[in-house]
């Protein structure tokens, strides 16, 4: 099957087969990242703009490396250097960028829906690198790839997602992706951080406690407390949060013996994860980062399209 989408904005828009295609492509792209010459000519001559209205280190760098490994020209624009600081609207910024003929815009924006807005108006491909509390599809895909590496499948896995689910685009993409692939998702977090109606998202169970969610889990995915945002208003204290919703060697024993520990980063050490767990044998955090490049290469490759005349 082929990939027919011009844009990738949310995993909720993709079918199970399309997600599988992206994961399979990423798996084969990994070979390039292990070579001495980490470059293929696939997107030679294509221009990719990384338009990041919010701070990012790993996602932006990962997209930039992915673009360069496929031989595309990648340009980075961050909020402090863009005309957004002078009051220019998103559409005006995008139209001006379009005049420079990019093929793909990879965008992070604080407003959910900003990507759909641009995708309807611009001829180039739009890839969502995070939009508000909506979705973060590349993170969802790299998480799924990391889980599939470990278990060889996604179907039937018990995945616990713990923390600020309400404001987590990572959680939303994972819920969309994982439930489509047949995993069971268990959510836990302070009641102020669990969205109402979360059960309606698919094969999702909202638990009363963290222990209930991670009991017998194959994967424990910890979410970052966004200290710069709602972390200050929705929590009494970080110490209390850590006591009830932090992962440590004791409560990790409730999960399956070799359960995977995942975190989208950056980690607030001692809050979501104890250092012992973050650096322990069960942590797959660095593997997630490594898989991020391959997944983003797969996304850029498939949205760039191409009619191929088979020889």
């Amino acid at each position: 099957m082929g990939f027919k989408h011009k844009d990738i904005i949310a995993l909720r828009d993709l079918t199970k087969e399309e997600i599988l295609l992206l994961l399979d492509t990423a798996e084969n792209m990994r070979e390039i990242n292990s070579r001495d010459i980490k470059k293929v000519p696939t997107l030679r001559g294509k221009t990719i703009i990384n338009l990041f209205y919010e701070a990012s280190t790993r996602t932006r760098t990962s997209f930039e490396i992915a673009a360069k490994r496929l031989s595309a020209d990648a340009v980075n624009i961050s909020p402090s250097t863009s005309s957004a600081t002078k009051g220019e609207t998103l559409l005006d910024t995008a139209k001006n960028l379009m005049a420079m003929k990019p093929d793909i815009i990879v965008m992070r924006h604080a407003i959910s829906g900003a990507h759909y807005f641009l995708a309807k108006r611009l001829p180039c491909s739009i890839i969502n690198a995070g939009d508000g509390a909506h979705e973060h599809p590349s993170q969802g895909l790299l998480d799924m790839l990391t889980m599939r590496d470990r278990f060889g499948k996604l179907d039937g896995l018990k995945v616990a997602i713990v923390g600020d689910v309400t404001h987590s685009r990572v959680a939303r993409s994972n819920i969309q992706g994982l439930t489509k692939m047949g995993s069971q998702v268990f959510l836990a977090g302070p009641p102020t951080m669990i969205p109402t109606g979360a059960e309606k998202l698919g094969n999702v169970t909202v638990c009363n406690s963290m222990n209930e969610a991670i009991d017998g889990a194959d994967v424990v995915m910890m979410l970052r407390i966004q200290l710069e945002r709602q972390g200050k208003t929705l929590l009494p204290t970080l110490k209390e949060y850590s006591r009830y919703y932090g992962l440590n060697p004791e409560n990790l024993k409730l999960a399956k013996k070799d359960a995977m520990v995942m975190h989208p980063g950056p980690i607030n050490r001692g809050v979501e994860l104890s250092s012992y767990v973050a650096d322990g044998d069960q942590s797959h955090v660095m593997k997630q980062v490594e898989n991020g490049v391959a997944v983003r290469m797969a996304m850029l490759y498939h949205v760039s399209g191409g009619e191929l005349t088979a020889e």
């Binding site: 696939t42 797969a298 498939h302 760039s304 191929l308 020889e311």
Partner: protein, 178 residues
């Protein structure tokens, strides 16, 4: 067999052609020292494995076989449509100082071979690259020719050459469809 389909090589003919190519490879390279085979996915990989079996039968020494997927090296990506799935490249040995025999089932425009050579060179710098194909059907668009050919088959561009493999990925026959 449907109308308009001709058997170019039957099973025995295919075996004989591959055996002859194996002898020619040995003759040209004076044995299997520093020789490796790299098959172009997917038909070329099957043919490369067949050649490796024959080389081992004749020389008593095994020859390493790698596989290369050329999807990411194609020169015909255009517009917005669906992409071909990316296959796996697996060359689990160093190419430095090696004599590489690139193997494909059918040689046509030469663009696949050009892409495969680029892919091989990205994995290292071999001493030389030679090309072995089961069928050469002509219509080259690039200055590329095979060193070892099982059968030259003059075709029109409307015709289709199909190398058929059994469930164990061994070649069964070669068909020409008009």
């Amino acid at each position: 067999m449907g109308d308009g389909t001709t058997v170019i090589l039957d099973e025995n003919g295919t075996k004989r052609a591959l055996t002859r190519i194996a002898h020619e490879i040995l003759e040209r390279n004076k044995g299997v020292s520093d020789l490796v085979l790299v098959g172009i996915r997917t038909g070329g990989v099957h043919i490369a494995r067949e050649l490796a079996l024959r080389l081992e039968e004749i020389e008593g020494e095994s020859v390493a076989v790698g596989e290369v997927d050329i999807t990411l090296y194609r020169d015909d990506i255009k517009g917005h449509a669906s992409h071909l799935p990316v296959g796996k490249t697996d060359i689990p040995f160093s190419l430095e100082g090696k004599k590489v025999v690139l193997v494909d089932d059918v040689l046509y425009t030469g663009r696949t071979i050009r892409a495969a050579m680029d892919a091989v060179m990205d994995h290292g710098r071999p001493d030389s690259i030679q090309l072995a194909v089961l069928i050469d059907r002509g219509h080259r668009e690039l200055p590329i020719r095979a060193d070892f050919v099982g059968r030259n088959v003059p075709t029109s561009q409307k015709e289709i050459i199909q190398v058929q493999f059994n469930d164990e990925s061994r070649p069964v026959d070669v068909l020409l469809q008009k």
